[in-house]
Symmetry: C2
Subunit: 350 residues, 2 copies
DNA sequence: TTGTACGCGTTATCAA
DNA sequence: TTGATAACGCGTACAA
């Protein structure tokens, strides 16, 4: 690999001059500039960023710690991160922890979880990344960022429950409200909801959004219309029967997968979605475009979450902190992004 | 940030001694070793990888150039790459070109495409990556790697058509053969095929696999059973009617999305998949698990492609090239990975 | 067993 | 307008 020294020698100028030209410093003669530029081109010289980073003590690189890149939310979040990094000319060092693939569904209950993450963070710091974004596989409280971390960090799509590290999350109350309110606008009053797992934040907040929408529309909240699911297609399938027993005219499923299970049950029992009963989902996964009829659902703001998390991080790195601009709950820094209702064919006027 | 120098001073030893201890060099007293290790722990010292890389002239880092991380094949391929890198203790610097998001469907016909990529490659080299993996959004011939590239490179899921850079691709002939042969084993003889876009390699090879399976089973190839699609769900929907006209008993769709369109048409016309007609897909996208009945399809070996590409790359980096172990076609280095048939409920015995 | 001294490729300071 | 030179943090001969 050819170095600045060799370029300088070839041009009969000093290293400093070549460096000045490369960095657009003033005080350099037009003539020598042209000559040096030409030689650089000829020799196909590429500056060594590693050496430059050592000298300038910055790398313009952030570390992205991804719990598992194959879960559905990860790529869009990463896309948001890279989008912002591109604008700001930052680099992304990607660490795919592969936790799902390695340990299955409850990796985060492993005792060594925190140590695994801590070790990865050490190595990132050793590589002189200037900040860290942590992307969990699904939203939850997460103690993964050490309190004594020497560099800024943010969590995208999960709660740090920390006063130091910001959390960027989905506004699930608003999302569920939007979906439920839309169903109500179509004339429905008897609306079942199929929930996710019991202790999930998503479940809690989405239920709250559902309740608020009923309240604002002066519809009594009937707890019997709340059917327990666990996010899986199968649980949606099982819950469908229970919902139909209650004579509801619409079902709000807390994710698209469970809506898929509901579709299956309805199909088997000869009911037609959008006609005999209205169904809405949540997430806007690919599958919602392959259901018949197309599923009305709420698009998760994953791209925005990644982008916003990255923006917060880079602001912190560059000392441009505006923490107080954001909502704080109990001193925690929580930024909520809003989803977007995708109106398709599964919810119809009553 | 605390440096080796400060550790040395704190321990009253020289920098060299600390360095030797860190790198497990022999000739170091047990006593000083323990002391130094303790101080390192106390001071929370982390070696500066940037400085180390500059000195040792290697970074153990590869660049992953991803055309668009949000397309469905990308995450699994990246997962394969990171899997192998983890084993070999390499890092991956991720570049998400965002080509789909930025320029839409025919970005690769842009005039500046090659220059965009070339520029990114320059920057990766400047960051001293030791090799590059290029991951296109879909398989195709691709002139994106400059012939005079100074470091090793491989293409994962696309053809370089170069004698220098290996291509790791899906064995589509085998895949389509497997699917078609399975359909035949179920007793079907009148099997339509809905193709992808006309000039795609995938279309060509999958058709060939279909034809070979017919031939090996002594079934006449009827060109009328080949219906043109374009990969989209809509094209599958439109092709379904044409296929049914021919009185076929099974349809092989060259991807899952078109199978989704076929399902839709069949549902609207009151036909039952798996009973009135058998359907098979290709790709094993998420949607195949949300169709009713579940779609029998071929799982793309995306993880293996990423992993194998990474293995080839790192072998090259470490001077451990075994090119001649792999098939060469016209001097090109092409490695084919095989997909796996996922037998579900959409293909039934005749 | 430990320490000294140099160099990796670059930027930055200051003198010429 | 240009050049000499000292850092940046680390690894490694070679000397002690």
């Amino acid at each position: 690999m050819i170095t600045i020294k060799e370029v300088a020698k070839e041009c009969n100028v000093s290293i400093a001059t070549v460096s000045n030209i490369l960095n657009n410093k003033p005080n350099v003669g037009e003539e020598t500039k042209q000559k040096v530029l030409r030689v650089i081109e000829e020799m196909n010289y590429t500056p060594n960023t590693v050496a430059k980073n050592l000298k300038t003590k910055n790398t313009r690189t952030i570390g992205a710690l991804i719990e598992d890149i194959t879960v559905f939310c990860a790529p869009e979040i990463i896309d948001g991160i890279t989008n912002y990094c591109e604008q700001k000319k930052y680099n992304v060092l990607l660490i795919n922890l592969r936790l799902y693939k390695k340990y299955g569904d409850d990796y985060f209950e492993r005792e060594d979880f925190f140590n695994i993450v801590r070790q990865e963070i050490r190595e990132l710091i050793s590589k002189q990344v200037e900040g860290i974004i942590y992307v969990p596989a699904h939203e939850r409280n997460l103690k993964c960022l050490p309190d004594d971390l020497a560099i800024p960090a943010v969590m995208a799509y999960g709660y740090t429950r920390s006063k130091k590290f910001p959390s960027v999350v989905v506004n699930d109350i608003q999302g569920a409200y939007t979906v439920t309110n839309y169903i109500i606008q179509q004339g429905h009053k008897r609306i079942a909801v199929i929930t996710g797992k019991d202790h999930s934040f998503h479940t809690k907040d989405r239920l709250l959004g559902y309740q608020k929408a009923l309240y604002d529309n002066k519809i009594f909240y009937n707890p019997e219309f709340v059917i327990a699911g666990d996010w899986s297609k199968e649980s949606g399938y099982n819950a469908a029967a229970k919902a139909i027993e209650k004579n509801v005219t619409a079902i709000f499923c807390m994710n698209d997968q469970m809506a898929g299970g509901v579709y299956k049950w309805l199909m088997e029992t000869g009911k037609i979605v959008g006609k005999d009963i209205s169904i809405a989902g949540y997430d806007d996964r690919d599958v919602s475009l392959y259901m018949n009829p197309l599923l009305t659902t709420l698009r998760l703001p994953l791209h925005q979450i990644g982008k916003k998390a990255c923006e917060l991080l880079i602001n912190q790195i560059e000392g441009d902190v505006k923490k107080d601009l954001y909502n704080r709950k109990n001193g925690e820094i929580i930024i909520e992004e809003e989803g977007e209702l995708k109106i398709r064919d599964s919810v119809m006027p009553l």
